[in-house]
């Protein structure tokens, strides 16, 4: 394959080959566990980030009255998807060290409890992390 052909293919991947399924599906079918219509946003502090299969995980504390507590968050991307979108292990773990203040938007579990699906993570500089638009030159954002 020539370089131009490779570029053309990659552009096709970015622009034309997005996910199609009528209902979204997480890597392990866990999406059905969460209610994205009940999403909420709060300020939080990272306690742990795990860059692992089958899904990356983030653990964080929230202090505001409505959602106070220690939460466990599932990220839809697995490491392969994070790599594809430019979020290498080094970059991800450095940005989400324990103690890092973040703003999270999450979908709660339908069954209740303290586990959520991570929809958005923003740091105190306003940068979107992990699920955000990929950096210039990186492969396209993973589609759940």
């Amino acid at each position: 394959m020539t370089r131009s052909r490779e570029v053309a293919w990659c552009v096709a991947v970015v622009l034309g080959c997005l996910a199609t399924s009528g209902s979204l599906s997480g890597h392990h079918g866990t999406l059905v566990s969460y209610d994205r219509d009940q999403a909420w946003t709060a300020k939080a502090v990272v306690t742990e980030f795990r860059y692992v299969n089958p899904h990356a995980q983030i653990y964080f504390d929230v202090k505001d009255k409505e959602h106070a507590g220690h939460w466990s968050g599932e990220l839809l991307p697995n490491p392969a998807q994070l790599i594809a979108s430019g979020w290498t292990r080094k970059r991800s773990t450095e940005m989400l060290k324990a103690g890092t203040p973040i703003t999270v938007t999450v979908a709660p579990a339908r069954a209740g409890g303290m586990v959520v699906l991570m929809l958005r993570i923003v740091n105190d500089k306003g940068e979107e992390l992990l699920g955000a638009a990929p950096p210039p030159g990186a492969a396209p954002r993973p589609v759940p």
């Binding site: 059905v32 566990s33 979108s85 579990a109």
Partner: protein, 268 residues
């Protein structure tokens, strides 16, 4: 771009992003085997009813009710914590499910066989091209997660026939069952430089009253350097390791599906 229609070697992907989980690309078809309604035998219906998948539209949801044109198999998803998908504890997906999963597969062509190396699960399936005959279902002592497969060329189409699958694997993510008598035919045709088309027919008289045919699925050739991690090209080791999976299930999957706190302890 010129191509040899019988040269299938390379890394092919049905993934919307090239590699790594998520959705299938727009022209590749979805994760389901077929939108055609299957016709079950009574035993097949019973097997179907026993399976509780976590893919598709949520069971009894407004979304599920709004799509009566879809078979109920695509409208009965429950949280994995309440399901019985053996894939949820890292068991091999088997076929045809692995070919419907949106991750790349490397086709390794050897003189007497073709190996399908699936990135997710790091699964390996052998298609024998040495002229051997497929064993009859009743002669198979031990069913296999990846079955027994033989291939031949019909013009420029690779025709793969397989059988002897472990009944614990599902036809697709929606929990359609198959028996130990399933015979799967796959027809792979390289239609241009970077596209393979796949058509499948499932014949399983124990569970299906008539053969069930898939839609045409597609996968695309990836540039050799496309999958890259740490400066290292080639399939990722996307192994479904129980040590990872059991911890994920304990900390995330099960609490999310039941509302109960994670059980204490590390199950690795």
């Amino acid at each position: 771009m010129p191509f040899q229609p019988r040269d299938l070697a390379g890394i092919w992907t049905p993934n919307g992003n090239g590699f790594g989980g998520g959705g299938r690309c727009r022209d590749c078809g979805d994760r389901g085997f077929s939108m055609e309604f299957p016709v079950f035998t009574p035993a097949g219906q019973a097997a179907f009813d026993k399976n509780t998948p976590s893919y598709g539209r949520a069971k009894d949801s407004d979304d599920a009710k709004a799509h009566p044109e879809e078979h109920i198999g695509r409208r009965r998803a429950q949280p994995p914590a309440l399901g019985n998908d053996t894939y949820g504890t890292c068991n091999p997906m088997g076929m045809p499910r692995a070919s419907l999963y949106p991750d790349p597969v490397e086709l390794i062509v050897l003189p007497d066989r073709i190996l399908q190396h699936f990135q997710w699960g790091y699964g390996l399936r052998t298609i024998w091209m040495d002229g051997r005959k497929l064993p009859a279902a009743e002669d198979i002592d031990i069913p296999r997660w990846w079955g027994y497969a033989v291939g031949r060329w019909d013009g420029n189409t690779l025709v793969v026939e397989s059988t002897g699958y472990d009944e614990r694997t599902w036809v697709d993510h929606f929990g359609y069952p198959h028996s130990d008598e399933m015979v799967l035919q796959e027809r792979y045709t390289r239609i241009n430089y970077d596209t393979i088309e796949l058509k499948m027919t499932l014949t399983d008289p124990k569970y299906y009253a008539k053969p069930w045919t898939s839609e045409t699925k597609r996968m695309h050739l990836l540039p050799k350097t496309f999958i890259q991690s740490s400066g290292w090209n080639g399939l990722l080791e996307d192994l479904c390791a129980p040590a990872n999976e059991l911890e994920f299930n304990r900390l995330i999957r099960d609490p999310a599906g039941t509302g109960k706190p994670a059980e204490p302890g590390d199950k690795r």
